[in-house]
Symmetry: C2
Subunit: 335 residues, 2 copies
DNA sequence: CTGAAAGCGCTAACAT
DNA sequence: ATGTTAGCGCTTTCAG
């Protein structure tokens, strides 16, 4: 598949020679520009087909400076939450003719930085990033050079940029308030490490709910640093075996929810459960539970649109933090 | 952040002028080429820092023709299976200094074609694709032009290319054989549409198991076209209510498995269950089940390495189809 | 070890 | 409506 000049792929020059027209005419046809004689367009199209010409998008954007791509830096490719955000963002971008390319730091701060800079070198128009790093000042030069950044799910550090977060605090508050309103005197709270942004927010929300009733949470019922379902299970089993066991549990993420469920099901304990984050197959849990749910697709679409508005200059307001609202919903099998 | 000439970003020319060296020297420093005087390199590095110079990777590859990127065209971004494959492929590629960019057809054949061609125009070195389209002849020109394609999970149609598939037939055969060996006389089989490649394979495997024992499956226990968990649930409920209900079920994908589980749990029926595909939280199912599992990461890594070998020319053998082996594993909560 | 010049494939500005 | 000429930012000869 060498080109007529003997090189690699055929280029516009080859097509022009083949069709007996100028380079520019080929360019016009390829780009669907107006004011091209139909007969000529026909001839060019025939040559393109015959030579198997394919436009080199990189060369095109080099001269035009067009930036028709945005990057999505996920923190974890196999996290469905982020990927649903990415899918929604891709769809929203496509509506404006912009492609989204996905990369992932896999929760590695150095990888995040490398990937991000790499995407910038690839001349993406902007970035959606789920931050893993604890310092994002390295993005400031890029932002200043006109590559806007929008953070997702977690705030960026050391840089002013748009952020789209879940209403972690409000969601947790509502979940715990509901348990308290149902008459539960002893509500346990299972959390991962408080150094994680979402955890400290959700913890604060849970405490808000107690405070709103003028009550204080029993500190022995608040368990932190539960990284895995197994840890959450063990923690809840310990609480259930203790003197005055909880009658309800609020789990601050779906890993804890899963672990708590294991404990509850294994002990067949009459404990009400509400968990932050819906999860796949939550409908399959063999007893009614509640989860704090939110519109993932909307989050992604809003973030993408904001980024595109920044890129196009349509939005020159101060960067802001937006919270995606949450709602409490029923899950689990009803009997 | 305008460059010293008043344009946009600073370029190598600006750096060269600033450092008082030639363009080529800057290029050498930026690319870490050997044979550069350390003092000069130092000066150039200082200018790069001061001007905030960032290399334009697109321009670089235009001249060199370098192809340091491969594309992954998923069929569904929110399918964890594909994303785990993508993550493994990305890691394997990175070991050779190649970046992976992810796009998704979202099960739309036209989108697959658009995305694929778009990636080619972006000069990716090769493609990993989970095919959605029913005809991949459109890829032939690309392949001929030196952009190899490797298909994942499903075979490509109308084009000879490497394929990495799950051992669907063998896995299904083993699953059903095990149920039969355990003494189950009546084993139901729940499937999605037989037009789907994996479904016809898994169906064939299930029937193999019966045939190996000289037995024939009861056609009334084989239900097809179950697209959703709800459909699978309804189908199994019907079977359980019928005259001679099954004592075991083989579900050909995890959606059916979920539906079947709902039916079994709701009826508290003593039915053994084996499902193809592991699923998130399968450990949480409140009774022991078996699943046909496979090493997703290995599949992705092998596919990526094969693609890279094709690109580099290290592998010029005939394209082949490889099957990823499966194994039967325990899931669900033990009591 | 360093530099000048040419050119990758395309688009933009200016003719015609 | 079409063609001509630069030139995007970089790498690559090929000379010094």
């Amino acid at each position: 598949m060498r080109n007529p000049r003997g090189g690699g792929h055929p280029t516009m020059v080859d097509v022009a020679a083949d069709a007996g027209v100028s380079l520019k005419t080929v360019s016009r046809v390829v780009n669907g520009a107006p004011n091209v004689d139909p007969a000529m367009a026909e001839r060019v199209a025939a040559s393109i087909d015959r030579l198997g010409y394919q436009r080199n998008a990189l060369a095109a954007s080099l001269r035009s400076g067009a930036r028709d791509t945005i990057g999505f830096v996920s923190a974890d490719l196999s996290n469905t939450f982020y990927m649903r955000v990415a899918a929604a963002a891709a769809a929203a971008a496509l509506e404006r003719g912009i492609r989204l390319i996905v990369a992932s730091s896999e929760e590695d701060a150095a990888a995040e930085r490398t990937l991000t800079l790499d995407l910038c070198q690839r001349q993406v128009g902007g970035l959606l990033v789920v931050p893993t790093a604890s310092d994002h000042r390295y993005l400031a030069p890029e932002a200043a050079r006109g590559t806007p950044v929008v953070f997702l799910d977690r705030p960026g550090r050391g840089i002013v940029a748009d952020e789209f977060l879940i209403d972690n605090r409000g969601g947790a508050r509502a979940a715990v308030a509901e348990l308290l309103a149902a008459g539960h005197e002893r509500v346990a709270v299972l959390l991962d490490a408080p150094t994680i942004f979402t955890m400290s927010e959700r913890r604060a929300g849970a405490l808000d709910a107690f405070a709103a009733l003028g009550r204080a949470a029993d500190p022995r019922l608040i368990v932190e640093d539960l990284h895995t379902p197994a840890a959450a299970r063990a923690a809840l089993e310990r609480l259930l075996d203790a003197e005055r066991p909880p009658t309800a549990v609020f789990c601050a993420n779906n890993r804890s929810t899963v672990g708590a469920l294991e404990a509850i099901l294994a002990a067949d304990a009459p404990v009400a459960l509400t968990g932050f984050d819906d999860f796949e197959l939550s409908g399959l849990v063999p007893r009614p539970i509640r989860v704090v749910d939110y519109d993932v697709a909307e989050l992604g679409a809003r973030a993408a649109r904001t980024l595109l508005d920044r890129i196009s200059g349509a939005d020159e307001t101060e960067p802001r933090t937006r919270l995606q609202p949450t709602r409490l919903v029923d899950r689990g099998l009803r009997r």
